[in-house]
């Protein structure tokens, strides 16, 4: 096992501590609850439209960013709070390796929870509506979205003591607020990266998600490319912070 793998493995288990995981899982199941209650008595067509409105909006705009925020901000934030940063950094490791390992841990922990939420939602849709098509695209889209949020929130956790608060302001003011309300801003929304990947993988979804996508073009390839660019930027920013900041 390499040093970076060891960091990723230990960090993932630290991030998935029992109490935090249960709390995040409860949040992850919220879209399923909304869908379960909302779809009863609806026609198949209405239920399909409803699935792509409230439950998916909740999953992509609130549940995934909040879960990613909690995990990613803690990835290096907890190391700082526990004074264990020196344990990681006084090592023969390049800073980018530490940054990448922490991003991987944040991604794994957040995806384990948000992905479970998406899986349960997809299975519920399958069982109630008889269509399994959204299941895999949902998981792919959530995986992409979690990676982008990890790229944003891991360095934030190192930079700010109140990273979760700053992240929540970003999520609720920007992702769930401004970028939804003003169509032209959708291009700069992280939520739309996941939604566009999902819409690109499910036939008919672009029409159903037209309002939510705004000016963003559906497509998994484009979403993956954006994710990759942001991930590299996140690793670079985290490495630079680890290199330049006084870690005392």
């Amino acid at each position: 096992m390499t040093a970076a793998t060891a960091i990723a493995r230990v960090s993932t288990s630290q991030l998935l501590r029992v109490r935090r995981t249960w709390g995040m899982l409860a949040l992850a199941l919220l879209p399923t609850l909304i869908f379960g209650i909302g779809q009863s008595g609806m026609s198949e067509r209405s239920a399909l439209q409803f699935f792509h409105d409230a439950p998916l909006a909740t999953l992509f705009a609130i549940v995934t960013p909040v879960i990613s925020l909690v995990a990613a901000a803690a990835a290096l934030g907890e190391e700082r709070a526990q004074h264990t940063l020196s344990f990681l950094t006084v090592r023969p490791l390049a800073r980018w390796q530490i940054a990448l390992a922490k991003m991987a841990a944040a991604w794994a922990a957040a995806f384990a929870v948000a992905g479970t939420g998406a899986l349960v939602l997809g299975i519920t849709f399958w069982l109630t509506q008889g269509g399994a098509e959204p299941l895999l695209p949902l998981l792919v889209a959530i995986a992409l979205n979690v990676a982008v949020y990890a790229a944003l929130f891991v360095p934030l956790g190192l930079l700010l003591r109140r990273a979760v608060l700053a992240g929540l302001i970003f999520v609720f003011v920007w992702e769930a607020g401004l970028s939804l309300a003003i169509g032209a801003l959708a291009t700069y929304s992280v939520t739309r990266i996941g939604l566009s990947a999902y819409a690109g993988l499910v036939e008919g979804a672009p029409v159903l998600l037209d309002d939510a996508l705004g000016v963003v073009t559906p497509g998994a390839g484009g979403a993956a490319a954006k994710m990759l660019v942001l991930l590299l930027a996140g690793v670079y920013a985290t490495s630079a912070l680890l290199q330049r900041r006084n870690l005392a």
């Binding site: 990681l88 950094t89 023969p92 490791l93 006084n246």
Partner: protein
Amino acid sequence: MTDPALAPDATVEVAAASKWFGQKVAVSRVTCSFGPGVTGLLGPNGAGKTTLLRMITGLASPSEGTVTVLGQDPRRHPDVYRQVGLVPEEDAVYPSLTGRQYVEYSARLSGVADPQAAAAASLDQVAMTAESGRRLEGYSKGMRQRTKVAAALVHDPQILVLDEPLNGTDPVQRARMIAAFHQLAAEGRTVIVSSHVLAEVERMADRVLAMVDGKLAAAGDVAAIRGAMSDIPFRVKVGVEAPRRVAAALVEEGHVDSVSIEGGDLHVATTDLPGLGRRLPRLARDLDLRLTSMEPEDESLESVFRYLVRRR
């Protein structure tokens, strides 16, 4: 004459290094070096010891000056960390890991070929094998300290930096750790140990660098430091019945620099601490009074260091 702050065969070199945080100067133009053997970094709390150690280990960058480890800047060349082990002052442990997992994790991060074997050997060195299956959150402070030392030693570093390593350890553990530091020094390693307790440093280190207010106050072997301190008064708090009578008797004898009574305790300033230690019990017996305590005052050490800085 060579500067006593500079060690022969230096592995760690600090050249006119300063560090400030905003308006606060933590370390001010310190020049010193460390070589094989145990070097004690002595000074009161807030003297700048921890900041200097953080600069040496690359956790903080000097605002001015340079710090090199084995000829390289550790912040630019992380490979140098293969030869550095750090025991920080803070707890710096993962509470949910067991002692063994923690030391093995340390071994993996340092690229040790067989982490399990290295961790077992290192835990054995600090006598923590029996407890190593328990989670760190259940350890006492002393046990955590020893486990941190094991984690710092696990990759067999040439340079070991220990910030207040004896904090929280009991006398038996302390003796064992001090013996381990001496053993490491005998193997030709550079061991840098900080402490604010002179008696601790005296037991651990062959060579001492004393710091106060971010400056180097004195350097040399322990005898030299003690010698430098010998001509300035030490303050001692004395617990005794009828302190006024004792104070009057001490002044009459003329072997003290000053006496004062604060809060019912007698405070004595003297340059002859051992002499005071001999005279006081005799004096109490002659006056038929009970002597209950005699403690050096913490700020006394600080004032000694301040004096040394002014003189340097």
